[in-house]
Each structure stands twice: as structure tokens, then as C-alpha cells.
């Protein structure tokens, strides 16, 4: 069994060490999970093995995964690890509660590595109890700009785990349908998708493209002031209005669209006569937005209930450690060297 070494900042490994893969069979997932619950980092070779195994598992999933209620649906996390743990405290730990995560696990927050490591281990350990959808941040391009790449490099001294994770992201599913009634996706709808069957034929095992149905699913946003599709100000995907939602639901014989992707002051927002909801799971986003967060619990009657919560108490407790931490000259951006 590999020794799972916790390091706040792992030293760069020697080249020959990097070349020695760890057989996935020898990874003790339960041990990994219990370390990760304590916010410890896994060894980069363990991450590599876990990601390889996860790819094999995800490869078998359809672009549209069908699940049954009860299930608790979680929106964007963005590396807010303490708040992820708070979600488990509130909603129940895996595998006692079924979870569906709608993507955007990484970037912006301080603990994206810990967050995605834990979620991937849970997925591997309980493949039918937890489902992970791909968000627009589960991509090489976006993570290079918005922090995950930087975080991996700082915490491991090299980008190997970034490669392991982003290679694995190519395999994440694009959508989930709960009880044939609730369509779940990270961003929203696409003008090139009328029927859910059209999602099933997307070749998803790739970096998220700039345009096309796969890009739209992870980038689009609802626009309550419009009826139809328009170009999104984000530069990718579309905004879509009430008529689009209505038509999509009726063509596919569904009742609701559930998505994440946008910060909500109250932790959630429902639009279009309760035909669509946004669930947002990063409280006090970026340490300052002062917003609530929520998870959406769908019970076996198909009823939806938003469980709203605030930032985890750990976010405050660590405040006292503030002055113990010393600046790391090695971590300085190169502009200042």
C-alpha cells in the first residue's frame, strides 16, 4: 500500500519517481477519504492512480445519466472545502445520502485540490451514490486562468496533479435526469439541442470546445427577460428565455430544469413559473459576497426542497491563525522575483 503523505507543500519529485505509477489496486480509498476529510493532500502518484481509475469508471457513463430520487443536488463549490464539508454535515455524508454535483468544483477558492480529490475518491468508492457533472471550470483552458493550475503548482511544486485532474475532467458526464422528470445540467440549454437524445450523441471525451452543444450545456444562462436564445455576454454559450424552457420540457416530457453556474444571493433562484431553478452551493462566495448557499433535496415523491445554509464556522475559526502564517517567498508570483 502506498504511503499517503500529507504535505502542505510537497517538494518536487525526482523524475524517476514520477515515472513509477502506483497500481490502482493498491490504493486504499477509505484511507484516502478519511485523510481528505481532514483536508490533507494526497500524494501526487496516488492522485494519478485515482484519476486513471475514475476515467475508466466515467467512460462507461452516458452523456445523460438517469438516477432516481431521493437525491441531494449541489451547485458550484469552487474550492470552498470547508463549505463542502458543511454540506455533508447538513445533508448527510456519503453514502447515506445520494448526491448529484452539478460541476465547478475547482478554481477561485483556496482548496480546489482538496475538494476535487475528495469528490473523486467518493465517486470511485460509491459510484452509484454520487454523480459528478462537468462544469465549465472542469477544463484545461479555464483552470489555467482561474486558479486551479496555480494552486496545483503551489501545493505540489509541479503541475502533475493538474494534468491528472484535467485529463479526468474530459470524462465527466454532461447531464443527469432525475426520475425522468428533472433535467440537470451545469449551465443550461443549447439552440442545437431539442431532444435529450441529441445530448446522447455528443462526443464528450474532450476539452470543452468553444462552441456547439457541449459548450452551451456548460456555459449557458437563463434570462428571465427574454423568450428565446441570445448570445451570452460571457463569450460562450447562450442566454435562453421562457419559451425555450417551456418547449424543451414539453418535447422531452419533463417538468423541471435544474442548473447551477450563477451566484445567487439567497443560495437559489427559481424562474419561469418554477420550471427552472439555479442552485448555488458556495456561501459567502470568494470570502465576501455575503450570499447564502443551498443544496436542493429531491425526495422520492419528486418534491423539491432547498436546504439553505451559510458559510461553515471553520471559515471564521481559522481567522485566529492569521498571524501564525508567514509569507512564502517561494510562492511569490514571478513578477516580483
Amino acid at each position: 500500500m502506498p504511503r499517503l503523505v500529507w504535505r502542505d507543500r510537497a517538494p518536487p519529485q525526482k523524475a524517476d519517481e514520477r515515472l513509477t505509477p502506483i497500481p490502482t489496486a493498491s490504493v486504499d480509498l477509505d484511507e484516502c477519504i478519511s485523510r481528505l476529510y481532514k483536508k490533507e493532500l494526497l500524494d501526487e502518484r496516488v492522485i494519478e492512480a485515482i484519476c486513471a481509475k475514475t476515467k475508466e469508471l466515467l467512460m462507461r457513463e452516458s452523456n445523460v445519466v438517469h438516477v432516481q430520487a431521493p437525491v441531494t443536488v449541489v451547485g458550484d463549490i469552487h474550492g470552498q472545502f470547508y463549505d463542502l464539508i458543511e454540506i455533508f454535515r447538513i445533508g448527510g455524508f456519503c453514502p447515506d445520502t445520494n448526491y448529484l454535483f452539478l460541476g465547478d468544483y475547482v478554481d477561485r477558492g483556496m482548496f480546489s485540490v482538496e475538494t476535487i480529490s475528495l469528490l473523486v475518491c467518493l465517486k470511485l468508492r460509491y459510484p452509484n451514490r454520487i454523480h459528478l457533472i462537468r462544469g465549465n471550470h472542469e477544463s484545461r483552458g479555464v483552470t489555467q486562468s482561474y486558479g486551479f493550475y496555480t494552486e496545483c503548482s503551489r501545493k505540489y511544486g509541479n503541475a502533475n496533479v493538474w494534468h491528472s485532474f484535467t485529463d479526468m475532467f474530459d470524462y465527466l458526464t454532461l447531464s443527469v435526469v432525475i426520475d425522468d422528470k428533472i433535467f440537470c445540467v451545469h449551465g443550461g440549454l443549447s439552440p442545437s439541442i431539442h431532444s435529450i437524445d441529441q445530448i446522447k450523441i455528443i462526443d464528450r471525451f474532450r476539452e470543452i470546445p468553444h462552441e456547439g452543444p457541449m459548450a452551451d450545456l456548460v456555459w449557458s444562462d437563463p434570462d428571465p427577460d427574454r423568450d428565446e436564445f441570445s448570445l451570452s455576454p460571457r463569450g460562450a454559450g447562450y442566454t435562453f428565455g421562457s419559451q425555450v424552457v417551456k418547449k424543451f420540457l414539453s418535447v422531452n416530457n419533463m417538468t423541471h430544469i435544474l442548473r447551477a453556474h450563477q451566484l445567487c444571493q439567497e443560495g437559489y433562484q427559481t424562474l419561469f413559473d418554477d420550471q427552472l431553478s439555479t442552485v448555488w452551493s458556495a456561501p459567502n462566495y470568494c470570502y465576501r459576497c455575503g450570499n447564502q448557499a443551498s443544496v436542493l433535496e429531491v425526495n422520492d415523491q419528486g418534491e423539491r426542497f432547498f436546504n439553505v445554509f451559510s458559510a461553515a464556522p471553520e471559515n471564521d475559526q481559522v481567522k485566529d491563525q492569521m498571524n501564525e502564517k508567514v509569507a512564502e517567498p517561494n510562492a511569490l508570483p514571478d513578477y516580483f522575483l
Partner: protein, 529 residues
């Protein structure tokens, strides 16, 4: 414990050397500065409504060689240098020519002379800022329980600003377009009408940058792209000579007007924006979260570090390291009481103070980049130099930020003949990409963030070397206007600051059509039928 004394506004503080016999030369060197249009140039000038020109990643490469880029840089360098403390040499009586060297610093504060109180245009701009701030009181935030995040009342506020902008700006520029109108030169009638039209066009051109400086009404957010627009607005006024009109009488001190712009206009502007952000809960535009320098701003970190840098003589360039005697230490930014003490006098501390106001949690956790910078031992000069490099790469060099910047007759979308092609070709912001793989031209290339010439790590099996290995030749460059001594190689690990406008995540725009080059790794059995 007795707090260290605050630097007194404009007063020489902290005597240092007492025996340096300097030969302060009269020949002031020419440092980067933005040229003012001469009356002759102005009278021929054709104004243009600024237009968006940056539509895809490759356009950023051209921007980095354009006149607009170099002029914005020069203007910023000029402002930066103006607030750097100065050495004051005082001959000592009866000491046989010895002089005492003291430091004159330029803190924020009430000193009218420092914030350019004597300058008409600066005074008018301060009135404009006050009116813009008062407009917030006219438009209270909406109480809408079903709002998503940003307060839609900001759109009402912005509309009002649009309506009033012409009048407000006319107050600043109007009747002051020296070479253009008046000046006692009798003009023919037809010529005067033509000038009238040209004046309107001038106002429209300047207004575009002014209105771009307050955030996006559509997206309800604010980022460094908006801040850049306001800087360009001030640059427009500078080029038009607005700050120099009515400046009769004895020539002021070197850099006096620039200092007035920084301390008397830019800081109050930042305060108005802070008020907007808080009132209408504007989202950080394209924030990089903890991996950015700041959610919204960049300028106060440049200008504020300049305020604390080692003092210089008028003919010296900006120092690349060192601090002003008596300056707070870089490490003081993580001390709450020090920030409270210095935020009133220094722009860097003022910016950190705002972060402390709005963020919860430990500073090292929510602002790790600023935290690590606080550990710099070579003083504020080092920080200033780094901030300029970072601004160049992370603001001016980033597609998501500059794509919204429009170009007209004052900030031109024209090749700057002085641009060093070979340098700009592999520009600074390439350096922020992870290393490229040089092994094979794999068809798996992911979309590039900004620039066509770069390859992003492949999805294939070949492992690129770790950062810093230099694979793929990530060669940085320094801006032609950046201070001396910046090395050519930039491979920043630190996260970029918040980018300007697109919220909450901008799509990293690569080369169009690049997506087609991507390949599928594996096909699931069900995928084909």
C-alpha cells in the same frame, strides 16, 4: 505601543543622510510620458467614436504593438513616477557645502496643493466625481427578493449617468479646447460650425471612456477593465491638454499635475467605485478568487507602492527596490491596525483596507497573492516594479479584460512604429500559460487562452516538463514603457488578478476554429449509434 508617526502631507520627513553633496543636475531626463497634442495638432485632429477592435485572442497581439497600448503605459508610468517620494536637499549652514537630504512624500489627504487643488481641471473632475457619487443617493438599491445577485437598480443609476455624462464632461472640457476653439483667434463662420461638430465628436470620444469606467450595467459587475477605461479617460483629457489650460503664472513643480491626478482624482474615483460595489452588490468581474491580486482593482497597488518607494531626485528613474524612510513595511498590510492607520494616506493600504472591509476569513487565505507579496524584503520599489509587470501581463495582456477596450483617435488602433516586434511577438501574457509540450504536434491541443502562437498542454499521454523548464519557449517581454531592469523572462506562477468585464467567468477565447482540431479520446460504445 506608540504608533510610528504618519508621514505629514507634503512635508519633508525623516532626515536621512546629512552629508551627501549632491550635484542635482538641472537637465531633467526624459522619462516615459504621454505627449500633449499641440494646438496645431488639435486644430487638425479628427475625433472618432471609439470602437471595439479586440474580437479574438490574436487581436491582443496587435494591441500590444499598438499606439494605444504604448500610450496608456506611458501615461501610467508618468503618474506612477509622480507620486514616488522625492529627495530634498537642504544646504547646512556653515558646514562648508554639506547638505541634508530629506524626503518629501506624497500621501493622500487634505493638502490642497497635493491633490492639485490649484488646477482647474482637477477641481472640475472632483466636482464630477462628487456628482457621480451623489447620484447613488438618488437611486437606492431595489428590494427584490427574487434578484439573483447584483442589484438591478445599478442599471437605473447607470442610465442616469449616461444622461448626465455629456453635461458633466462639458464642464470639465467645455470651452477649454484651446487650439480648437476661442483662443482669441478670429475664425471664419463655416470653420466655426465645423469646429462645433468636431467638439461634439471630441466629447463623444472622451465620454465613451468615462462611461466605461463604472462597471457593466448589463452584467452588474466591476473589474480591472473598467478601471482601465477610467485611466484612459484621464489620458484623453491629458492628451487634449485639459489639465494644462488656464495654468498661467509660474510653472508648478515637476509632476505636480500628475500627482494631482493620482491623489485628487484617481483615489476619489476608486472610492466612488467602492461605494457603487457596496451599494449595488456588483459582482467581481471575472474574478480569479483567491488566485487574483484583488477582486476589482489594480491601479491602487501600483500607485500606492510608488508612494512608499525610495525617494529619488528629479532626474532619477523609478527605483527598482527600496522604501521611503519611515514607510510602513510591506508586512504591515496583514496587520489590521496598521492598515487602518495607513489607509488614509496610502493607496495600497486603502485598497487593502477595502478588502478587509468586505472579506471575511484569514488574509493569507482569501488574498494569498497580496499575502506573499507582503513578505518581500526589498522594499516598496520592488513591489512597484512587480505590480507594473503584473499589470502589463494580467490586465493589458489578457483578452477577457481588454476585449472591451474601444479605440478611437486619441487611443489609436494603429501600429506603434516604436513597438519592438520581436519582443511583443511572444508577449508577456503567454508566460502565464502552463508550459507547452514540444514532443509531438498532437491533435489534442486544448484551446489557447489568448494567443494563437501558443500551445496549451495536450490531453495526450506525453507529460510536459514542469513549469520553469522552458519548454515551448515561453519568452516574456517587458513593455517598452516599463521601468528599466526588468528581465525578459516571465513565467508567473501567481494567479492573475481579477479580469475585467465578463462575469463571472469569461470564456478564454482562443483561435476561432481551434475547437475543430481537438480530438476525441475514446468513444463509448453507445456514443456512435
Amino acid at each position: 505601543m506608540e504608533p510610528p508617526p504618519l508621514p505629514r502631507a507634503g512635508a519633508p520627513i525623516a532626515p536621512t543622510t546629512s552629508t551627501s553633496t549632491t550635484s542635482s543636475s538641472n537637465a531633467t531626463k526624459s522619462f516615459p510620458h504621454l505627449e500633449i497634442l499641440s494646438p496645431a495638432q488639435l486644430s487638425r485632429h479628427q475625433f472618432l467614436l471609439p470602437k471595439k477592435r479586440i474580437n479574438e485572442g490574436s487581436d491582443v497581439s496587435f494591441f500590444l504593438k499598438a499606439k494605444a497600448y504604448s500610450e496608456i503605459g506611458k501615461f501610467l508610468m508618468q503618474l506612477n513616477r509622480s507620486v514616488c517620494p522625492r529627495k530634498v536637499h537642504i544646504p547646512l549652514k556653515g558646514s562648508g557645502g554639506s547638505v541634508a537630504t530629506r524626503t518629501k512624500s506624497f500621501p493622500l489627504g487634505d493638502d490642497r496643493k497635493l491633490w492639485g487643488g490649484g488646477n482647474r481641471a482637477i477641481g472640475k473632475l472632483r466636482e464630477v466625481l462628487k456628482e457621480v457619487a451623489d447620484l447613488v443617493a438618488e437611486v437606492p438599491p431595489e428590494d427584490n427578493p427574487n434578484r439573483r445577485f447584483g442589484n438591478a437598480a445599478f442599471r437605473v443609476w447607470y442610465k442616469k449617468l449616461e444622461q448626465r455624462a455629456g453635461g458633466l464632461l462639458n464642464n470639465v472640457i467645455g470651452g477649454e479646447t484651446g487650439g480648437r476653439r476661442g483662443d482669441g483667434v478670429k475664425q471664419e463662420e463655416g470653420r466655426e460650425e465645423a469646429n462645433e461638430g468636431e467638439n461634439d465628436r471630441m466629447l463623444e470620444e472622451v465620454k465613451a471612456y468615462f462611461l466605461g469606467g463604472w462597471g457593466s450595467a448589463q452584467r452588474l459587475d466591476f473589474g480591472t477593465g473598467h478601471e482601465l477605461s477610467f485611466l484612459a479617460f484621464l489620458g484623453c483629457l491629458w492628451k487634449l491638454g485639459v489639465f494644462h489650460r488656464g495654468q498661467e503664472g509660474p510653472k508648478g513643480e515637476e509632476g505636480e499635475i500628475e500627482r494631482g491626478i493620482v491623489l485628487g482624482v484617481i483615489e476619489p474615483y476608486l472610492n466612488v467605485v467602492r461605494k457603487l460595489i457596496l451599494t449595488y452588490t456588483l459582482e467581481p468581474a471575472g474574478s480569479h478568487g483567491v488566485w487574483g491580486l484583488d477582486d476589482h482593482f489594480f491601479l491602487p497597488y501600483i500607485l500606492g507602492s510608488a508612494q512608499l518607494t525610495r525617494p529619488i531626485d528629479e532626474n532619477e528613474p523609478m527605483p527598482l527596490e527600496g522604501s521611503m524612510p519611515g514607510a510602513p513595511k510591506p508586512a504591515d498590510i496583514i496587520k489590521h491596525d496598521a492598515v487602518e492607520r495607513y489607509r488614509e494616506v496610502n493607496m495600497y493600504f486603502s485598497a487593502v483596507g477595502f478588502i478587509n472591509d468586505v472579506k471575511k476569513g484569514p488574509f493569507w487565505e482569501h488574498s494569498p497573492i497580496l499575502f506573499d507579496i507582503s513578505g518581500i524584503k526589498d522594499g516598496w520599489g520592488k513591489i512597484n516594479k512587480g505590480m507594473i509587470k503584473m499589470f502589463d501581463a494580467e490586465v493589458l495582456g489578457k483578452f477577457p479584460v481588454v476585449q472591451h477596450f474601444p479605440f478611437g483617435s486619441l487611443f489609436e488602433w494603429e501600429l506603434d512604429p516604436a513597438a519592438e516586434d520581436k519582443h511583443v511577438e511572444r508577449s508577456v501574457h503567454l508566460a502565464n500559460q502552463p508550459p507547452t509540450t514540444t514532443t509531438t504536434a498532437s491533435p489534442t491541443a486544448a484551446p489557447s487562452i489568448g494567443i494563437p502562437s501558443t500551445q496549451v498542454p495536450s490531453a495526450g499521454t506525453a507529460r510536459p516538463p514542469p513549469p520553469g523548464a522552458g519548454a515551448g519557449g515561453v519568452v516574456g517581454t517587458r513593455a517598452p514603457w516599463a521601468g528599466a531592469g526588468t528581465g525578459p523572462s516571465l513565467t508567473p506562477r501567481g494567479g492573475p488578478p481579477d479580469t475585467g468585464p465578463p462575469p463571472p467567468t469569461a470564456f478564454p477565447r482562443g483561435v476561432p476554429g481551434r475547437a475543430n482540431n481537438q480530438f476525441s479520446v475514446t468513444k463509448a460504445p453507445w456514443a456512435k449509434d
